[in-house]
């Protein structure tokens, strides 16, 4: 079983986690155009390579960010966005 290191709980089996998708910036509801909204809703980062993404440790309901390589499936790092600087 692949391990994912939760910033709060340490390394756990990856089936304890829920994948919440790539990190993306929110669209501004007051100023975003229809096209910007459509882009926000339907387009997500999908590179073959490094990807920042949200994960949740289900038993503890702890949500964090992982950086993972989507070709090799290596997890480069995980961090709590509340305490760490986003690159």
């Amino acid at each position: 079983m692949k391990l994912l290191t939760c910033p709060m709980n340490g390394p756990r089996n990856i089936d304890e986690f829920q994948y919440l998708g790539p990190v993306r910036d929110d669209a501004d509801p007051d100023t975003a155009s229809d096209a910007a909204w459509a882009r926000h809703v339907f387009r997500a980062a999908n590179p073959p390579g490094r990807l920042l993404e949200w994960w949740r440790h289900v038993p503890t309901n702890f949500v964090f960010v992982a950086e993972r390589d989507t070709v090799s499936n290596d997890v480069i790092r995980t961090f709590d966005p509340a305490t760490a600087e986003r690159p």
């Binding site: 079983m1 229809d34 096209a35 459509a38 339907f42 999908n46 073959p48 990807l51 499936n73």
Partner: protein, 413 residues
């Protein structure tokens, strides 16, 4: 006998010419470049050469012929979708499959044995009624069957499993079929090559050249090519290749895993799938039980297999057919799928003139091998997108005009 064999071996007629010519040298210019030497790309090349007289066509394939999702899918051909637009398109795809062996003079082993999708919840049964009505209206053979009907179609099914996830009914699609996937690609490739199409294996595309909003050529690992039209038909790599042209597709890429058991006596005459168990089974003509298909839970461009997904497929299979419990898994694999938000493909024009898209085929592309190639060849030859492809345009994601086929696609191949 020995003498005749020796004479044959030494004669000039030996070795026999293969169906697919060896990769030729790249020419500096083609009318059409097709990126991706899988079923869809080869089908488009065939239709261009055979029906539109466009023979200066190069099919570029990074690996080997049909080595991607064409040979990794689980060969379900069906048209039991939900939307009228979806059903119309897949119905045409199914009809092309039925005529394909004659069309290509290549036995694709088309077997129209019918597909039964199982419901384990009332909600699924309601969805089945909607799909049956839509399919009947569109002229396909589809009906809802009760548990007695399910037993009649497949007496080996375990109907109650001790009360957990018992089978409440099914969706019987008599048009459902299967075929040999590599034969489909080889048939198209052989006939396209006979018409003059060049198939370039081990030729990777590194860039797409654009001038004044119009595609002008591609850069490959074997040199640059000028061309008038480019078709992107790269299966799992569509997002990446489209980005080379600055086109950002609404695609997220996931692996889909499948496996096949050791050969057993023929017993499963139909295609079986279960919505709740996320498992579908078909017995191949060699007797192996082909079992799909578990989508991985997170984005990945890798064809590795995982034990937990295989366990999940095995659990679903044994749930439906308990006597499979002692049967061994012979092979396992995964394909990389380009998933769209609405589980429908993206076909037709792109923001770049003469750059055509055959993308977003996710986990459901094999059944459309013929029709996607045929209709995209029509786009390229006439410069106009035919009406049947309008609902699948990339612009639908700007207009919020989605073609939602999630319920008819997920786990019911």
């Amino acid at each position: 006998m020995v003498f005749r064999l020796l004479k044959y071996g030494l004669s000039h007629r030996y070795p026999v010419t293969g169906d697919i010519p060896a990769t030729p040298d790249l020419k500096p210019r083609y009318d059409v470049v097709i990126i991706g030497g899988g079923g869809h790309g080869l089908s488009c090349a065939y239709h261009l050469a055979r029906y539109h007289g466009i023979r200066r066509v190069a099919v570029l394939e990074k690996g080997w012929l049909a080595g991607g999702n064409t040979s990794r899918n689980t060969t379900t051909i069906r048209s039991n979708y939900l939307t009228p637009q979806g059903i119309a398109f897949y119905k045409e795809g199914l009809e092309l499959f039925a005529a394909m062996s004659d069309e290509l003079d290549f036995n694709i082993m088309f077997s129209q044995r019918g597909q039964l999708t199982l419901a384990h919840t009332e909600a699924t049964m309601r969805a089945f009624h909607t799909r049956a009505e839509a399919g009947t209206y569109m002229g396909t053979r589809i009906e809802v069957v009760d548990p007695k009907g399910v037993e009649a179609l497949c007496p080996e099914l375990n109907m109650d499993y001790g009360g957990a996830l018992e089978i409440l009914g099914g969706l019987w699609h008599a048009d459902g079929a299967t075929a040999r996937h590599d034969a489909v690609a080889w048939g198209y490739a052989a006939q396209a090559a006979r018409c003059g199409v060049e198939i370039h294996q081990r030729t990777e595309v590194d860039g797409i050249e654009i001038a004044a909003g119009r595609v002008t050529g591609v850069v490959t690992s074997r040199g640059a090519i000028a061309c008038d039209h480019v078709l992107i038909a790269c299966g799992g790599m569509n997002y990446h290749v489209a980005q080379m042209a600055g086109v950002e597709l609404p695609i997220r890429t996931y692996p889909l895993q499948a496996m096949v058991t050791q050969p057993v006596k023929p017993w499963l005459n139909i295609l079986i799938s279960s919505v709740s168990l996320h498992t579908y089974l078909v017995q191949s003509s060699r007797g192996e039980v082909v079992i799909g298909g578990g989508s991985d839970p997170y984005q990945l461009y890798s064809t590795r297999s995982t034990l937990d997904m295989k366990e999940h497929l095995a659990e679903g299979s044994v749930h439906l057919f308990p006597f499979l419990q002692g049967v061994r898994v012979l092979r396992q694999w995964a394909g990389i799928t380009d998933m769209t938000p609405d589980y429908s493909p993206i076909m037709g024009a792109s923001p770049v003139t003469n750059l055509w898209l055959d993308c977003g085929w996710g986990t459901w592309g094999f059944k459309a091998t013929g029709v996607a190639g045929k209709r995209l060849a029509e786009c390229i030859a006439t410069g106009r997108v035919p009406a049947i492809l309008h609902p699948f345009a990339l612009e639908r994601f700007e207009r919020f005009a989605l073609l939602n086929e999630m319920g008819a696609t997920a786990a019911s191949h």
